[in-house]
Structures are given as structure tokens and as C-alpha cells.
């Protein structure tokens, strides 16, 4: 099995190749707003470095966000076309789940919050369980004030992780001493985690349907939001 992982929902564009025995090649770019445009050439480069032909790929996995709209779309478009072109299965994972999974040994409530632009974060809460994490809330899009209120309302120790903490650190520190902000090194969803999580799903043939796979936008487009509020006002 050789699985390709593609994750572009944050300013970090990450690509990985791996199998049951681990990751064999990976790359990470955060060179600016358009680094996701390099995702296909990074895949080519990773295969080159691993010394494998593209025909060796047996599956594609992709991060579905929530996150940056254009970034998510580029990753999902690349993954879907790659799977369709190669004729291999595809599996998708929520990008926030990838971040939570990477800090699963912390034995605390986990809150993952990524920057959603428009003065909002995308966040969700997780609880560590044997072998991984379980998400206990829906994905939500809200400003830092709302997230702080959610953190205060929970009367237990919380690990707060995600690149949203880089943008709103000062506001989020207001939540109190029961909230520890994790290092930015854990703050981005990674394609290596994607590959690791994809393998058990691929082994039990729990594939996603290519046509139906789409990003977790969570938030509507600005035009739709404006339309909805006009209609409510009428």
C-alpha cells in the first residue's frame, strides 16, 4: 500500500507518502498565500525523492478543513482529480481532527481552533480516548470572544491548539489558567497524520465517494450570509 496525503486547509501546504510501515517522504511549504498552488508539483517531487513511480500509489487521502476556503478547494480538487486519474480510492478527514489526533496523549480536554479569516476561528472540542480522540462538538465558526466564553464555560483543564492561537493569542489567554495554549508546532494539520489515519480506513475499505467528497466550509459565502440577513429583515 502506498498512500498519498494532501493537506492545504491552512497556510501550510503539506504532502506525504506512506504505507503501513510509516511515512517514506513528506514536504511542507508555507511560502505565502499561494503555496497551495504548488501542491501537485510537491506530490511529483515527493514521489521522485521516494524513487517510486506514480503507478505505485494505491490511495489518496485529503484534509477537508474547516480552514481557508481556497486552500481547501485546491487540496480537494487535487486529491479528487488524482484519485480519478489513477483510478484509486479516496478518503477524507476533517483537518481539525488531524490536529487533535496529533496531541492525543495530553489526557485533557482538547480544543482545536484554526484561523478562519473574517475575524473568525473554526473550532471544535475533543476528548482523548484509547487509540485516538473523539470529537464532542460540531465544528463552529465564531469570533475569539465566543471561543473564550466556550473555554470559560468548561470547568476542566483544556489544551488549546491550532494556528488560531497564533492570531488571537492575547484574547484567548483571557480564558483563564485552566487553558494551556499549545506550541505552534502542533498548530497545523499535517499530511503525515493524514496518511497514518488513512491506512486503517483503507484496510477496511471504508472509502469516500469521489463525487460526494467536499470541503467542510462550515461558513456560507459572504453573499449568501448577506442574502440570508436581508431576507430575515424583510
Amino acid at each position: 500500500m502506498l498512500v498519498l496525503g494532501i493537506e492545504t486547509s491552512t497556510p501550510q501546504t503539506s504532502v506525504a507518502l506512506g504505507s503501513e510501515t510509516g511515512v517514506v517522504a513528506a514536504s511542507l511549504l508555507a511560502t505565502g498565500p499561494a503555496s497551495h498552488e504548488l501542491v501537485v508539483s510537491e506530490v511529483a517531487r515527493a514521489l521522485d525523492r521516494a524513487g517510486m513511480p506514480r503507478s505505485a500509489l494505491t490511495a489518496v487521502s485529503v484534509g477537508l478543513g474547516p480552514g481557508l476556503f481556497t486552500g481547501m478547494r485546491v487540496g480537494v480538487a487535487a486529491a479528487k482529480a488524482m484519485a480519478q486519474g489513477l483510478g484509486v480510492p479516496i478518503v477524507g478527514f476533517a483537518s481539525l481532527d488531524l490536529i487533535a489526533f496529533s496531541v492525543r496523549y495530553c489526557r485533557r480536554l482538547i480544543c482545536v481552533a484554526v484561523d478562519g479569516k473574517r475575524k473568525e476561528l473554526f473550532f471544535a472540542f475533543y476528548r482523548p480516548v484509547p487509540g485516538g480522540v473523539t470529537r464532542t462538538t460540531e465544528f463552529e465558526a465564531a469570533g475569539p470572544g465566543r471561543l473564550v466564553a466556550e473555554l470559560i464555560a468548561r470547568l476542566e483543564d483544556i489544551l488549546l491548539v491550532g494556528n488560531g492561537t497564533l492570531v488571537y493569542r492575547r484574547e484567548l489567554e483571557e480564558a483563564g489558567k485552566h487553558v494551556e495554549i499549545a506550541s505552534a508546532a502542533f498548530g497545523f494539520p499535517s499530511a503525515t497524520t493524514l496518511v497514518e489515519l488513512a491506512i486503517p480506513r483503507l484496510q477496511r475499505e471504508d472509502f469516500d465517494r469521489l463525487y460526494d467528497l467536499r470541503p467542510n466550509y462550515v461558513r456560507k459565502s459572504d453573499a449568501e450570509i448577506a442574502w440570508d440577513s436581508r431576507r430575515r429583515a424583510d
Binding site: 498552488e37 508539483s41 479528487k80 486519474g85
Partner: protein, 333 residues
């Protein structure tokens, strides 16, 4: 050589399979007009989301309709600009991933060059020099092509693209979206000489301006209603359309005359306008100029024109690298 053409620069997800730049084996367009109608214009985020959902099923449909499998495709052509950046990126990324997965050459195509090549699909290769008039919802441009793949822009719109002005006036008159075809239909029943709307005169000879004309239409209708009269909308539509088309035809013929070419090529969604086609054809014939016009179904954005332009680009050795991005303001030339 069998080419898959992908076009997602605005609000049509379009895929086509074309043999040797001529034989259209499949040409599928998934229009999003119904998604944008309530907003009265194309919403970039809505368009980008829809492209991503449409693209993969449309590819399977195009392959089935053309009796082809991915193994029979020899190259992938895709619009790289100009257009909406988020929308372009969906098509470009899919094209790159397919080209990589299948080990095929990739060729990026300029959207407006695609509109020129829509004529090649219909009429066969067109030898430069020629003047092209490209007119759509996003562009109004006069271009001189002295030799193959070389373009010199003679003039363009200073404000609204013609299709945009048609949409706005149609919306003002209470017609549907997209407004161009509705306005065209209504104008057929009206008198083009009923109202003498101003013909835009611009400083530079080949540039276009429609904001004054648009204002004149609004002012006319409002004034009539102020006098308690409901203006005949078919006359307003016909007179507005006549004012737009007359200037377009005048300038296109002047450009051909001034550059000394004997061929005019039309391209873009507004070329589906029946009055533009009719007047351009009459005037070109009087001037002894050969006119190439794509059939209406190849005027709107489509993947076949991209595959066709891609074929000619590939034939002369052009290739596009896998790190190509979207160029929302890509110049033609």
C-alpha cells in the same frame, strides 16, 4: 491527438474532448446561472464551490459521451486566466493532478485565445493577420493578430464589459438573469430607432465605454414613468442594443481597415447576440471582409475552445509546468 479541455474561469464548469483541434467528441457545460440568479451576478465563492462539485462527475460524463477512456487522452488543456482566481484554481488544480496522474502534457490556455479558437472548431484553421473582437460578460476587446499566437490589444472597455452592461440594463428593466439573452429576445419585438440613445465616443479610437449609455437608459425610463407613462420595454431594449452594437461594429470595421487586414474574427458570449451577428455580417460583406463567427453554442464559455487552442499551442511545442498557478489578470499577447 485527443485533448481534454477544462474551463472554469467564471460560472460555467466546462469540459470537452476534442480530436486534433477540430472534431468535438464531447462538449459539456454545467451552467451555474440558477445559483447566481438571486444575487443578480456571479458570486465568486459560490462559483468556486460549484466548480469543485461539478468537475469530477462532468469528466466521467464527457468521457462516456465521447466514447473515450482516460487512457485515450493525449494531453490536458486548461484555462489559466484571466478570470476569477478561486474559480480558475479549481480547474487548473484538477488539470494538473490529472496530467500528473496520467503522465500527460499540460497546456495552459488564455481564456480569450480560447474564444478566438472557437472559430477554428467551426471553420478550420484561420490564417493571420486578422482582427478579433472579443466580447463577453467580462471583456470587450479589439485585438490585432499579425501572426500566429501574437496579439496586440487595440482597445478595450473603459468601464463595463458589454455582457455586464446587458445584464445590468436587463436587471433594471426587470428581465431575468443572465440578462443578455432575455434582452436580445425582447429587443426582437421592439423598434431600434424608437429612442436615440447616445453612441459612446471615447478619446482613444478603439476603446469602449458603456456607462453613459446605461445612465441614459435609466434616465429615460425614470423620466417616462415620472410623466405617468410606462415606456415600451421592447423599444427600450431594442434601442439600447442598437446603440451598443452599432459602436461595436463601427470600431471593429475601423480596426480592420486601419490594420489593413481582410479577416475579422468574433468571440465571446455576447457574440450569441442576434443583432451583433446580423449587423457585423452585413457590414463586413459590404466592406469585402471575411467574417468568422462561432456558432452560438461555441460563443459561451466552453471546454472545446480551450482544447482547440491547446492543440495548436502543443503542436508548436508549448508546455506548461505543474507549478503553474491562476493568473486572474493574465494579459493577452
Amino acid at each position: 491527438m485527443r485533448i481534454l479541455g477544462i474551463e472554469t474561469s467564471c460560472d460555467e464548469t466546462a469540459l470537452a474532448v476534442v480530436d486534433d483541434g477540430r472534431a468535438v467528441l464531447a462538449n459539456l457545460i454545467s451552467s451555474q446561472a440558477h445559483l447566481h440568479e438571486r444575487f443578480g451576478g456571479v458570486v465568486p465563492e459560490v462559483a468556486s464551490r460549484a466548480h469543485l462539485e461539478n468537475l469530477n462527475p462532468l469528466l466521467d460524463l464527457a468521457l462516456r459521451e465521447s466514447g473515450t477512456t482516460l487512457k485515450d487522452i493525449d494531453a490536458i488543456a486548461v484555462t489559466v486566466g484571466p478570470g476569477l482566481v478561486g474559480a480558475l484554481l479549481v480547474g487548473i488544480t484538477a488539470a494538473k493532478a490529472l496530467a500528473f496522474a496520467l503522465g500527460l502534457p499540460l497546456i495552459g490556455v488564455h481564456h480569450l485565445e480560447g474564444h478566438i479558437y472557437a472559430n477554428v472548431l467551426a471553420h478550420g484553421a484561420i490564417e493571420p493577420p486578422f482582427v478579433a473582437f472579443l466580447v463577453s460578460g467580462g471583456h470587450t476587446m479589439l485585438v490585432h493578430a499579425p501572426e500566429p499566437f501574437r496579439y496586440r490589444i487595440l482597445g478595450q472597455t473603459l468601464d463595463d464589459a458589454a455582457g455586464e452592461a446587458f445584464d445590468k440594463v436587463a436587471r433594471f428593466l426587470g428581465l431575468g438573469f443572465p440578462g443578455g439573452p432575455e434582452l436580445d429576445r425582447l429587443a426582437m419585438m421592439g423598434d431600434p430607432d424608437a429612442i436615440r440613445f447616445p453612441r459612446a465616443v471615447t478619446q482613444r479610437g478603439y476603446d469602449f465605454s458603456l456607462s453613459g449609455l446605461k445612465t441614459a437608459v435609466v434616465r429615460h425610463v425614470t423620466a417616462e414613468r415620472g410623466r405617468g407613462r410606462e415606456p415600451a420595454l421592447e423599444d427600450v431594449a431594442a434601442s439600447f442594443q442598437e446603440a451598443v452594437v452599432e459602436v461595436q461594429v463601427d470600431k471593429t470595421l475601423a480596426a480592420a481597415r486601419d490594420t489593413g487586414v481582410a479577416t475579422i474574427v468574433l468571440g465571446g458570449g455576447v457574440v450569441a447576440n442576434t443583432r451583433l451577428r446580423a449587423l457585423m455580417s452585413t457590414r463586413a460583406e459590404q466592406a469585402g471582409i471575411r467574417l468568422f463567427t462561432p456558432p452560438p453554442e461555441l460563443c459561451t464559455d466552453n471546454g472545446a475552445m480551450i482544447a482547440c487552442a491547446g492543440f495548436y499551442r502543443l503542436s508548436r511545442g508549448d508546455r506548461t509546468a505543474l507549478d503553474v498557478g491562476a493568473s486572474p489578470g493574465l494579459p493577452l499577447g
